[in-house]
């Protein structure tokens, strides 16, 4: 089994790399500019790290919202463990750094030939390298009946903000004994364990607000779920009899929704809900698709060493929008990809070779207060794909004592503090 990240080989090769590094400063005539579209886990992190690695590069971040609400921990808001305000961040810190400009505007078009990005406000930005990190778009109508109007009756809450609060209000209005239906899609989608963390947090909210006779039905288009044994163990302990999981093999795949009656139609039958949360089919963010960086499935193929689009040279795609092989679509993954991409872009703009990537991901999930679980993986790049480092992907142990679950719950909060500090500080 391979162990380690082969630093010995790197040290032996450093002499050759040194020649390329020495070109820095004389190869480029003007200050190069990188435009980053999207100020989330991928985009804000990438802007920050380009600036950290080479402050001589002009970085412009284009973000449509003045404030960013993290999707990580938005299930904790539904459970009543955090406020949405505690997940909300402004761009003052990022924009105050020398070399980074934050523009609050919407990118509407990319001209990859001319290397420009058009903004809704009328400006057009020229770039040497473009980073697209727009997150996901919802494929309205891909699930029969689920359009933007339907999401006002049956929230997805898969982008944190008003949708999160809408779901929370609906749960607050529901009577004890009601039925909550959560529809989970087939891969790929943002944050694989999140539908099950959501079920946990909905159950926690109901149990602690006098609605413990209510039921949660998860209709799933998959036959297995991430951290399955850990979730099932936690559900048995905290929410006995409240959560029913209907996998694909038992007809769990949702095929149609009717927002007027809050009914979800699945192969297993009709599920009439008091509150319905639909995790809809997704694609890369709209700007990545209109830029021509997405394939026919709606996701963006990339060079695993540089995160550069294989379809649009000069355009790098990060985070949920890109096809990152074995890496799950998570905020942590986007942040790790952003650091690799930043190093690659700095190298490319300095006529140097992109360094070898190393990626990591940790996804924490909250099952109950003081009860957290995690999955971890390290990843590396082959010529065509990002693959897991053999033996690195691991789960919290099933037999862990309560103090370990409590520590993971607390470290999860610490992770969010560290990462948002890095992104927005």
């Amino acid at each position: 089994m391979k162990t380690g990240f082969a630093r010995r080989e790197f040290l032996m090769a450093i002499g050759a790399a040194g020649a390329a590094v020495s070109l820095k400063g004389c190869a480029r005539a003007a200050k190069p500019r990188v435009v980053v579209v999207g100020g989330g886990f991928g985009g804000a992190s990438c802007a920050k790290y380009i600036n950290r690695i080479d402050p001589g590069i002009d970085v412009v971040v284009v973000e449509r919202n003045r404030e960013y609400v993290t999707c990580p921990f938005s299930n904790n808001v539904i459970g009543g463990l955090r406020t949405l305000g505690s997940l909300t961040h402004g761009y003052e810190g990022l924009g105050a750094r020398d070399g980074i400009t934050v523009v609050i505007d919407t990118a509407t078009a990319v001209d990859a030939q001319a290397r420009t990005v058009s903004l809704a406000g009328g400006n057009r930005l020229a770039y040497d390298r473009l980073v697209l990190s727009p997150g996901i778009a919802i494929r309205w109508g891909a699930l029969d009946g689920y359009d933007e109007a339907a999401a006002e009756a049956m929230p997805h809450a898969w982008k944190a903000g008003p949708q999160t609060l809408l779901l929370k209000r609906q749960l607050a209005a529901m009577e004890d004994g009601g039925t909550v239906v959560i529809a989970a899609p087939e891969y790929p989608y943002r944050c694989p364990p999140a539908p099950y963390e959501r079920a946990s947090m909905v159950a926690h909210y109901l149990k602690t607000n006098g609605k413990a006779r209510s039921k949660i039905v998860i209709l799933d288009a998959k036959d297995t779920i991430p951290k399955q044994a850990l979730f099932e163990q936690g559900w048995g302990r905290f929410y006995e009899g409240m959560i029913e999981w209907v996998p694909r093999g038992q007809g769990g795949t949702a095929t149609r929704v009717d927002p007027a009656t809050k009914t979800v139609y699945a192969e297993a039958g009709e599920f009439k809900a008091d509150v319905a949360c639909i995790v809809p089919p997704q694609s890369a963010g709209g700007i990545a698709i209109s830029a021509g960086a997405a394939d026919e499935d709606g996701w963006c193929p990339i060079d695993p060493w540089t995160l550069e689009s294989t379809l649009r040279p000069g355009v790098h795609v990060l985070g949920d929008s890109c096809i990152a092989g074995a890496m799950p679509k998570s905020g942590f993954s986007a942040n790790s990809q952003a650091k690799v991409c930043a190093a690659a872009i700095v190298a490319l703009l300095n006529d140097s070779q992109p360094p070898e990537p190393v990626f990591m991901n940790t996804c924490y999930s909250t099952i109950a207060p003081d009860y957290g679980i995690s999955i971890y993986g390290a990843y590396r790049a082959t010529e065509h794909a990002i693959v897991a480092v053999l033996g690195s992907v691991s789960l919290s142990p099933l037999d862990a004592p309560d103090e370990v679950r409590k520590a993971e719950f607390e470290y999860a909060q610490g992770w969010l503090a560290s990462m948002t500090g890095e992104m927005f500080g």
């Binding site: 082969a6 610490g414 890095e422």
Partner: protein, 99 residues
Amino acid sequence: MTRQAFATLALGLALAAGAARAEGPTVEAIARNCMSCHGEGGVSPGSMPTIYGKSTDWTIGRLKEFRSGKREATIMGRIMKAFADDDIEAVAEYFAARK
């Protein structure tokens, strides 16, 4: 996968790309992943331990204890499984140098 196989793969990649790519990630590339949890520069603003400014020996000792299981951990034991001795030493030196 063996280290030998990994090195061969990297060489094949360099040949396919028509140019030499540095073999093996730099310590900076590894350390940036540490910062995702332990904070920018290794300075944690929350419940994660700060890892900046510790002595090299202290960090090497801790990380090897996590890897062997001698020291209990939630996740560090799992993370360290993919780290060779020279990865651990390089990361320890990197954060120690940031005193």
